[in-house]
Amino acid sequence: MSQPAGKRTVIGASPPRIEGREKVTGAATYVDDMQFGPSLLHGALKRSPIAHGRIVRIDASRARALPGVRVVVTGEDFPGLTGLYLKDRRIFALDRVRSVGEAVAGVAADTPEIAAQALDLIEVEYEELPGVFDPEYGASPEAPIIHPELASYEVVPFVFPQPGTNISNWFKVRKGDMAQGWAEADLVYEHKYRVPHVQHVPLETHVCVAQQNVNGKITLWSSSQSPFAQRNLIAKALHIDHSRLRVITPYVGGGFGSKAGVSMEGAAVALAMHAKGRPVKLRMTREEEFHTTFVRQGLVAILKMGMTKDGRITAMHNRFYWDGGASTEYGVNITRAAGYSGTGPYYVPNIHVDSYCVYTNHPVGGAMRGFGMPEIHFGIEQHIDEMAHRLGLDPVEVRLKNCLKDGDETLTGMPMHPTGLSECIRKAAAAINWGQETVSYSSTKRHGKGLAAMWKAPAMPPNPGSSALVRLNEDGTATVSIGGVDIGQGALTAMAQFAAEGIGIRVEDVRVNTVDTDYSPYEWQTVASRLTWSMGNAVLRAADAARTQVLQAVAEAWDEDISDLDIVDGQVISYRSEESIPLKNICIDGVQRKDGTFVGGPVVAQGRFMPDYVTPLDPETGQGPRAVVHFTTGCQAVEVEVDTETGEVQVLKIVSAYDVGKAINPELVRTQMEGGAVQGLSTALLEGLILDHGVPRNPNFTDYRIATAVDAPLETENIIVEVPQDDGPFGARGVGEHPMVPTAPAIANAIYNAVGVRLDSMPLTSEKVWAALQNNDI
């Protein structure tokens, strides 16, 4: 920012990850790797076997009497309500269970075996209640009410629960004149699309250790994307001072949104509060991870769109029914994000969107990579394709005609900022040789191409803050403290690059700390693809401030103008006097003046960033000047091979093109694109929780399948488009989530292109393709 562009060396370069050596040697420490010695207690949670029911009686006396059992807690011990946006759940169920797997009691024991035995000894009597297992039904007046107390729950101002129903949030967009929109259309098409619950499947399941010391202070070691949000929510729920709860997050073995907010961590703290100083570990089994932490919500989307015969979209009426599950940590905000993004990345003059978050007796929906966007784009991007096909138009041309361009009004009335969306669509199409017939070498193996575009904004409150501290050390290296978490995306490395660039030192000379809320500055959460942009701004400002502290001292000591001074590779230099001094000589002890005295001192600098321009939206129309901070846009194109006899789909190539504003570390950007595309492919073709009246039937890797190296495409191509973000550091905006947003509809469109069948429910399994082919002789 403060340096001339020609000098820049670190931004836009691709240094390897700064923590790479630790991770390839096994030295990187994750929570489960930490050693707590023989006093460690092993926690376990008693879970509801039924989807919906009243708790008639809990008798834990036999568990308490088992030798080796140190703590047993139930809902009565911690009756307070908690929740990020809507306080609608407890750490342990109190009077009612609302999903299979909901925790009703917790134990801590000397060994995991004793803890497991103790769970079996806790007797719980339930009176079963009728359940809700479909969001459309759940939103209807006939459905049993899952949260009768909804009216009394505390809620943030931008979420609109509908007491007396199962609707925990209803987001509306009303814009233009629908009647006119339909009248102008030559084709009006309506269709319903379904997306099942999927799970994030971080390789490291949720794990945490909690310990309370004699002063009452609690430390929580937690594999978390949100150490500060965990501190905030748990402190409030358990009535602990924030300064008496310390959350430490070492390396995290993947998150993808599942480790945002609080899921099981509150239970560990609750157990520790009764454990007389002993640490309590709670680690989810893979089965627990599949349905009791968070899942991606299911979606039923009913889309109706009008288009003229030359391919102009005239109107959209879209209804989204989100299967939010038993309670809503993030679901209400996913619903909101889907609402204000509900047209997809297109200019539409006449719009009616309803996005409903519906309580069901399913697992609790949380944030997952894309935050609602993969789900809504699955329908929207197939719908556009289908309409283009019905009108005899090229789907790429239709997208280019309608996609948002600089200054176009979005569905909430916000003018679109400069965006490279059209460029992404053109480049992705070119890279897949769009329009060129593909040769199918066998009569039973058909090739096809498909493409889908996307947009996504960071979905968050209007004002989430970031902060950073930069300290210089005696050897001229820098220590950067941040509150955001590297969950694999490369945040530590990107922040090191910002700090190095801002100060004027080498990336290798920057250390970035993992999070300890007692020592790290505040960060809202590691979600929404916001760290590079938001925390990057904070780090850059802190680095700038550190640099200024150094240069001010040098300017005074040398009697020079600060504008003539610079720091390059750890040397402070004067362009005027051509004098120089190593940073390490002065960044702690200060600079010696000509009279022998010193000026300056230890360099410690802070920076912070918070968007201050996002406005509320009208609750009835969804309209407002600035709904979000920005949108990252992009496009994917895929080539597939479909086996017409077995229905198998092999993805041969995925091209990803995203407008990232500015690639701080292009190699890390590409890894996000590739990783996201394969996660998108995996959810598109393989994944989906099977819920039978709320009972998960496949909470394991045998029947819930994750793409392996063999399932990933042999060929990927990643295209970086850079249209700068006005308030991004060096113009950067986030791209962590976006690469999995359009993958599923792109594959679905390619299957259609290959064999002429359209699949409107995920996953796009072989048997669904086969069944569709039976009805569609080609």
Partner: protein, 169 residues
């Protein structure tokens, strides 16, 4: 039910004989992690699927969550902690994973590298397809595997003494 006695098990791990008095039901992963603080191999699923717990045992890649430690009595085990050279320099696979972004969160990495090590011992010059089939027992949720394949290919070249080629993008 009887309460069977503990038994002493000795396994040569990374060149050193390590012993512990354990119950026969102790799995190899717990022998390594809990009794000897070798926490590089990770527990990702406990159902023989994810491969995060992979170690090398007598020249075979095994998932240490599905093997009792008593079964490995007297065996030679190599974990990720034993991969680097004696002078602390990285094994070519470790160096390649770090250099080619063959990792993100890093949780699968120890198992992935240990598996790739055995793959290259058996097939020093694998095709990309052979690499992909060779690591099909290791799940990575972050990378999409492209850079893992690239890293293994690059390490194979280094180990064969070939000049390192910049992998095509």
């Amino acid at each position: 039910m009887s309460n069977p006695a503990k038994t002493r098990v000795t396994i040569n791990v990374n060149g050193k004989d390590l012993s512990a008095e354990i119950e026969p039901r102790t799995l190899l992963i717990h022998f390594l992690r809990e009794h000897h603080n070798l926490t590089g191999p990770h527990i990702g699923c406990e159902t023989t699927h994810c491969g995060a717990c992979t170690v090398d045992l007598d020249g075979r890649s095994v998932k240490s969550c599905t093997l009792f430690a008593v079964q490995a009595e007297g065996a030679k085990v190599v974990t990720i902690e034993g991969m680097a050279n004696a002078d602390g320099s990285l094994h070519p696979l470790q160096a390649a994973f770090a250099e080619h972004h063959g990792l993100q969160c890093g949780f699968c990495t120890p198992g992935m590298i240990t598996r790739a090590y055995r793959l290259l011992q058996e097939n020093p010059n694998p095709t990309d397809e052979e690499i992909r089939f060779g690591i099909a027992g290791n799940i990575c949720r972050c990378t999409g595997y492209q850079n893992i394949v690239k890293a293994i290919r690059s390490a194979a070249q280094v180990m064969a003494g070939q000049p390192r080629k910049e992998a095509a993008e």
